[in-house]
Structures are given as C-alpha cells and as structure tokens.
C-alpha cells in the first residue's frame, strides 16, 4: 500500500508539469466539422479545379493568377463566411479576378464542395430571397451584380462591379459549367 501511494505521489509532479505546460500553450478549440463523406484526393482534385480556369471562358480572361484556399486559408478570403462552407465538407476554393472581353472587372469563385450534395446544400443556404432563377440554366440564380450556380461538386459565385461586367457573367458561367461535365 505504501509503495503504491509513494508511486502515485511520485507520479503527480511530472503529470502536473505536463498539464500546466499544456494549459499554458493549449491551442483554442477548432471549429466543429461534422463527420462527412470522404473527400476527393487532394492533388488530382486541385489539378481539376485549376483546369476549369484554362482555355475559353466566354471571352473573359484571368487578370493575375488563380488563388487556391484550403480550410485555414478560406478565413483569409471570406472571413466569417468560411464556417458554413467548412461545415458542408468544403474541400478547396479557386478564386480569380477576371476581366470581361471589354475590360470590365469581375470575380470568379469556384468552391470544390467534394460531393454534389454539399454543393446543393450551400447553394440552397446562400440563395438570396430576391434572387431570380435563370432561364435555360438549371440550379442557377442571378441577382444584380451576381450570378451563382452549382454543377456536380462545384459551387460557383460570380460577382460583377458594373453593368458591363454584369452582362458578361452568364457567358462566363456557361463556359465554366461546360468544363465541369
């Protein structure tokens, strides 16, 4: 009994040291992510995602480069909007500033949601009450300065900054969707 108590007492200091140090340096709790479906393999999915921006894009051109954002990086791009994507098993975002054929600026955000069901879920969650469905373009909505659609595992948000860019959004959307087949 005495030996047991001695061993217990001897064990307390190192255990306590470990606990104190852990408390002092403990990282904050992570944002909860529900258990989800397996995600597409990283490198291959990244390659496929970036290929969407290559070739003909309805006359639009990438102004600088395509940025890729993982879960941590997503906060640096959309800040507090990130968790609703992460909760839906978002895999990666490819984003680029683009110029229409007549030089108007627009932003193209393509979210790889890993599974079509996740893309559908975020599409429904973000749908503006006053946004309108687009004729001959299923699973798409357009609001002033905005065109949003989903196709397979992708969720796409196109944003314009003026009327010229707004007029170019449907062409860019059609070109992107064509590459997602």
């Amino acid at each position: 009994m005495r030996i047991f108590i001695f061993v217990v007492l001897a064990f307390i200091p190192p255990a306590f040291i470990g606990w104190m140090i852990q408390q002092g340096h403990r990282a904050p709790a992570q944002v909860a992510v529900a258990a989800g479906k397996p995600r597409a393999s990283g490198a291959e999915a990244d390659k496929t995602l970036l290929e969407l921006f290559q070739g003909e894009l309805g006359g639009a051109k990438i102004k600088d480069k395509v940025g890729l954002y993982d879960e941590k990086g997503l906060f640096d791009y959309i800040d507090g909007a990130a968790p609703i994507f992460i909760q839906r098993h978002y895999r990666k975002l490819a984003a680029a500033e683009m110029a229409s054929a007549d030089g108007a600026d627009m932003v193209c955000d393509v979210y790889d949601m890993a599974e079509p069901a996740n893309a559908e879920s975020i599409f429904n969650a973000e749908k503006s009450a006053t946004a309108k469905p687009v004729t001959d373009f299923p699973d798409a909505i357009s609001g002033p300065m905005s065109f949003v659609f989903r196709s397979g595992r992708y969720y796409v948000k196109l944003t314009a900054f003026d009327a010229k860019a707004e007029a170019a959004l449907p062409g860019l959307a059609k070109a992107l969707k064509g590459k997602m087949k």
Binding site: L9, A10, P13, A29, I78, G80, A81, S146, T159
Partner: protein, 351 residues
C-alpha cells in the same frame, strides 16, 4: 485514514503532522518507529518535489509570455471625457450620407468634443472587401470622406486612415472608393503592408498579444466607422466587430471563439467616437456579400461613444434581437456599454 490501528505515514495526514503522530504511538517498536521516520522523510521529500515541480511548471508556463508582454506597448484608452448634459447617441436619417454625418456630429456637440487641435487621429472604416459601395460590404466612401473633413476641420495634427483588409488591400482600398475619398479630404492612407504593424500587448481573455496597425499605437484619438451588415458566424458585423481590422496575421485563429475575440479587441482599442454607417446594409451572405439582392437602402447614420449601444441599435436594423448577438451580450458583461440604447440620452434626426 486507515480504519484499523494508528494512522500510517502515507494515510491522508498532513505531512507536517506525521512525525509527531508516530512519536506518540507507544505500541510501535523502535525499528518500526525508525522506518516511519524514514517514510516520513520520503513523504516530505516527495511533497517538496511536488511543490517545487508545480512552481517550476508555473514558471515555465508564464515566464516567456510575461517577459514578452512586459516589453510590448499597450494601446492607450482613447475615450474622451463626456461634458455634463451632452448627448450620448445621435441617429440621423436622410438620403445624403455626408449630411447625416454632419447632423449626428453636431448633435453630439461637434467634432471638437472628440478631437483637439494638434492631436493625431486614426480613422478606421471597414475596407475589408473587394466590393463597390453599392454592394455594402465596406463603409460608404461618402461617410468616410465627411468624417475625415470634420476631423481635419477640428484641427487634427495628423489624420491616418487604415484597415487590415481581408481581400487584397490594393483592390479593396480602390474598389471601395474609400482611399480616393479619404485622400481628397486630407487623410494619410495607410495600407496594411507588413511594415505597418507593431506587436502590442492585447491582455485579453483569449488574445494576449497581437500585431496591430501602427496608427493605433501612436494615435491620440481613434474614430471607428463600421458598416452594418449580416455576418455568417457572429450574426452581425458592426462597431465591435470592426476591430478585427486592426490586426494582422491569419484570421482563422480569431474565429474559434469569435464573440470573446471581438470583445478582447474592443476592450483593447476603446475608441474616442464611433460613427456607424447604415446607408446601405447587407442583410444576407455577409460579410462578403456581392449580390445587390442582399442589400437594403437604409439612409441612416448613428454615432456615439458606446459601441455596445450602437451595435444594439444596428442589430435592430438587421432584424436581430440584440440579446441574441453574443458579442453584444459579452460587451455588456465586459463593461464596454449598454445594449439599452434607448436608456441613453439619444437624439433622432430626420426621416
């Protein structure tokens, strides 16, 4: 303690009492008494080791951060003294954002109540997003320009305007129209380059230190000009949330306990004046927005020194109950203000 016989040396008896107890136990043999003394010494040594280890652990835990925070600057309290009988909060409604700014400042007693001649002032709008004014993700540039003009007219020695944008700063500062408006009105615009940050002591519940844009360290006065908008994680982004834009570094850390992080930063800055822009508000898909379908024209400006009260008022514009917004409740608990904005001396003008 054992149920039979005298207490043993490792029973639950305070270590200091053990020798005395063993000495008064007449039935024990000399050998046993010697063994108990050795055992008591072992207990004493173990206890001393434990106490020493705890002390060492505490020292290891705190030494580094204490040493670091002692050497770091702390942002001073920027609040101005309230003159007797002065208005606490002013709300103006009307189609001209600049006129609304002038009305609320006049109702509060004029910019001279908040800024004195020669003082260095930093103005903090929301310039977080690569969005136009119509998309209502950033503060309205007409509001920003008018605030800069009033601060310059009050005799400020230096007027900085800055924000740590979420999207690329060059795009945000230009697309929002804020850089152009601020420069035209006489402000020095500071973009959030790596060289613009200074490490400071935050002393918050969650945030101990942080890299802050240097004008917040050097300024005599701080003016907050947030926009009112919906926010996916915190429900709303208004006055208190706008302080996220003083910090550099990865933002993911700030969102793990967003309400307390907001309060840590608000408690650090303690602004002189807050002018809340609700000219256009973003009702959904915030903080980024993009679609004009999510924007509502409100033509409203509210101003005062109580950020909790202003945010409680702003929450009502978004259709929220202030008591449901975590950072408003936490802000009240932290003593930063009251969500009962109607209980303050408030002036409402126009509309």
């Amino acid at each position: 303690m054992s149920s039979n016989g005298p207490p043993g040396p490792y029973d639950q008896v305070p270590a200091a009492q053990i020798p005395k107890a063993t000495q008064t136990t007449s039935a024990q043999s000399a050998d046993t008494a010697g063994m108990d003394r050795r055992a008591a010494l072992r207990v004493g040594a173990t206890a001393a080791m434990a106490l020493g280890s705890v002390g060492l652990a505490l020292a290891l835990r705190d030494r580094g951060s204490e040493k670091k925070t002692r050497a770091l600057p702390t942002i001073k309290d920027h609040r101005a003294e309230k003159p007797a009988g002065a208005t606490d909060m002013a709300i103006a409604r009307g189609p001209d954002p600049a006129a609304n700014v002038r009305k609320v400042i006049e109702a509060l007693g004029g910019m001279g109540r908040f800024v004195r001649r020669g003082e260095r002032v930093v103005i903090k709008p929301n310039i977080g997003w690569n969005r136009t004014p119509e998309q209502a993700a950033n503060t309205n540039p007409d509001v920003v320009g008018e605030v800069v003009r009033l601060v310059v007219a009050a005799g400020a020695g230096k007027v900085w305007l800055t924000d740590a944008s979420v999207n690329t700063a060059e795009q945000c500062f230009a697309r929002s129209g804020i850089e152009k408006a601020a420069k035209a009105a006489g402000a020095t615009v500071i973009r959030p380059d790596a060289s613009a940050f200074r490490e400071v002591n935050v002393s918050g519940k969650l945030l101990r230190t942080g890299d802050v844009l240097f004008p917040f360290v050097e300024a005599d006065r701080v003016i907050n000009i947030p926009i009112v908008k919906q926010h996916g994680l915190s429900l709303a982004s208004m006055s208190l949330k706008n302080w996220y834009g003083v910090l550099g570094g990865q933002r993911v850390k700030l969102h793990q306990n967003i309400h307390l992080s907001i309060i840590d930063l608000a408690a650090m800055v303690k602004p002189t004046l807050t002018i809340m822009d609700a000219t256009r508000i973003l009702l959904a898909n915030g903080p980024t927005g993009g679609s004009l379908a999510d924007v509502k024209q409100m033509d409203t400006i509210a101003a005062g020194s109580d950020e909790v009260a202003l945010d409680a008022f702003g929450a009502t514009l978004l259709g929220l109950n202030p008591n449901d917004v975590g950072f408003i409740v936490e802000g009240m608990k932290a003593g930063l203000g009251t969500p009962q904005w109607q209980s303050l001396k408030t002036v409402e003008l126009g509309g």
